[in-house]
């Protein structure tokens, strides 16, 4: 069973064995507004937990995308680079950002589950 967890920076992460898929939450896209640009990490590069791993820009502003866990970038989603509006349409499924081969599963422990994240998102946007 794959488990989805959430970061305070509004990323979601789905773990499947050693492979993690990461994207930004629906709540994040609602705060950002219309997304018009996405930049993803290089395939093969290494990213560190809480480090910058991409950028999204809305008509209003640019925001960094952070990785909630460390690992090697094994895949990126070209679809969202070609058509960034897909991120607004389907942020938590087809418009994922990148996939990592992770080293340390314990890095997942500090992340929130769905219920905790929804509470956090509600409190921080109020």
């Amino acid at each position: 069973m794959s488990e989805v967890k959430y970061s305070k920076e509004h990323e979601w992460i789905k773990l499947d064995g050693e492979e993690a898929t990461i994207g930004i939450t629906k709540h994040a896209t609602e705060m950002l507004g219309d997304i018009v640009f996405a930049e993803l990490p290089e395939k093969g590069s290494h990213v560190d937990k809480d480090g910058t791993a991409g950028v999204v820009e809305s008509t209003k502003a640019a925001s960094d995308v952070y990785t909630p866990v460390s690992g090697e970038v094994i895949d990126t989603n070209q679809m969202i680079v070609d058509d960034p509006s897909k991120i607004n349409e389907d942020p938590e499924e087809s418009a994922w950002f990148f996939k990592l081969k992770i080293k340390d599963k314990s890095e997942m422990d500090s992340l929130m589950n769905k219920e905790e994240y929804e509470k956090f998102a509600k409190e921080t946007s109020a």
């Binding site: 507004g33 219309d34 018009v36 640009f37 930049e39 950028v55 820009e57 809305s58 008509t59 209003k60 502003a61 640019a62 960034p84 509006s85």
Partner: protein, 368 residues
Amino acid sequence: MSIKKTSLNNLHIKYGAKLVEFAGYQMPIQYKDGIIQEHKYTRSHSGIFDVSHMGQLFISGGDDLTNELEKIFPADLKKLKTNQSKYSFLMNNKGGIQDDLIITKTSDGFLIILNAACKYNDYKVIKSKLDNQYKLNLDESLSLIALQGPEAKNVLNKVIPGCDSLKFMNGNNYVYKNEKVYITRSGYTGEDGFEISIKNSDAETFVESLIENGSKLIGLGARDTLRMEAGLCLYGNDLDNDTSPIEANLKWAIPKSRIETEFVGSEVLKNQFQSGVKKLRVGIKPDSKVIARVNTKIYNDKNQEIGKVTSGTFGPSVEHSIAMGYVDNSYSTVNTKIFLEVRGKKIPANICNLPFYKKNYVKGEINV
């Protein structure tokens, strides 16, 4: 100071606006549809903009008002016919722009539309330069509503019949619910449109009737992308106290008849007309989708810094990243290759013509 609300504040909330503070006012950045949809609706149909935060300064009194105002503004006010409007500037002694504004000649004086963030200072500056016999009224009992887009004339004509005969940059008095409204054909989007000056107490019902006739409320977010596509300047970004109208590439707004005459900043402008300027505002088109926002540094192909971006966004109608900025004059020619430093990377871009989006104004008398 507490945050101010316009007379449309309840309506903004009713239509799901995200409210932000702008120039001391609580203003809608966007509504439910979002910036891109709002932008496109304005270009394809019509959009309603609450611009009541802007200053509406009425100046009247005295026989010599036109002469006195020509000592302040570089516009040819003597030639202005009643109800005709001109784009002009309030400058400082160094030729820098304190505000960009629209002056309209009214039956008993002039109406000047001022930027929200500048209006109180403008009032002080203009008052200090005019004799006491002249009456200045920064009228906050009036709201200002812009209606923009190809359907604007049809929508407005249903609510206030007859206004579709107005020519671009001309205004007139009309009646709405037995009250006088003043309408000009002008705007800030690159589309045909109108600005309606209306009593605060009538503003809400007026806007509701525009909505009933097919228009939608549009927030400041889309107002910004629309004006950028149209190549229009935003005061505070593209224009400021250290930038002259010549540097801003707005030479067309200084009539030839005024170049040899005296007004605030005229010496500097005369000089710049003769010997040119060091920096110039240009349009910038990045090669990729990367957005170069305000303060992005601009480099030449030898990695020397040659200027900076003053406005940048994604243009929803041109479907491209677009920007404006100031570059060293020797790099201002169209198609010059430049580089924009975004997040540490040098993004190739080209100097391009403005506007990015072709204008659609209803042409009136052209004498610029």
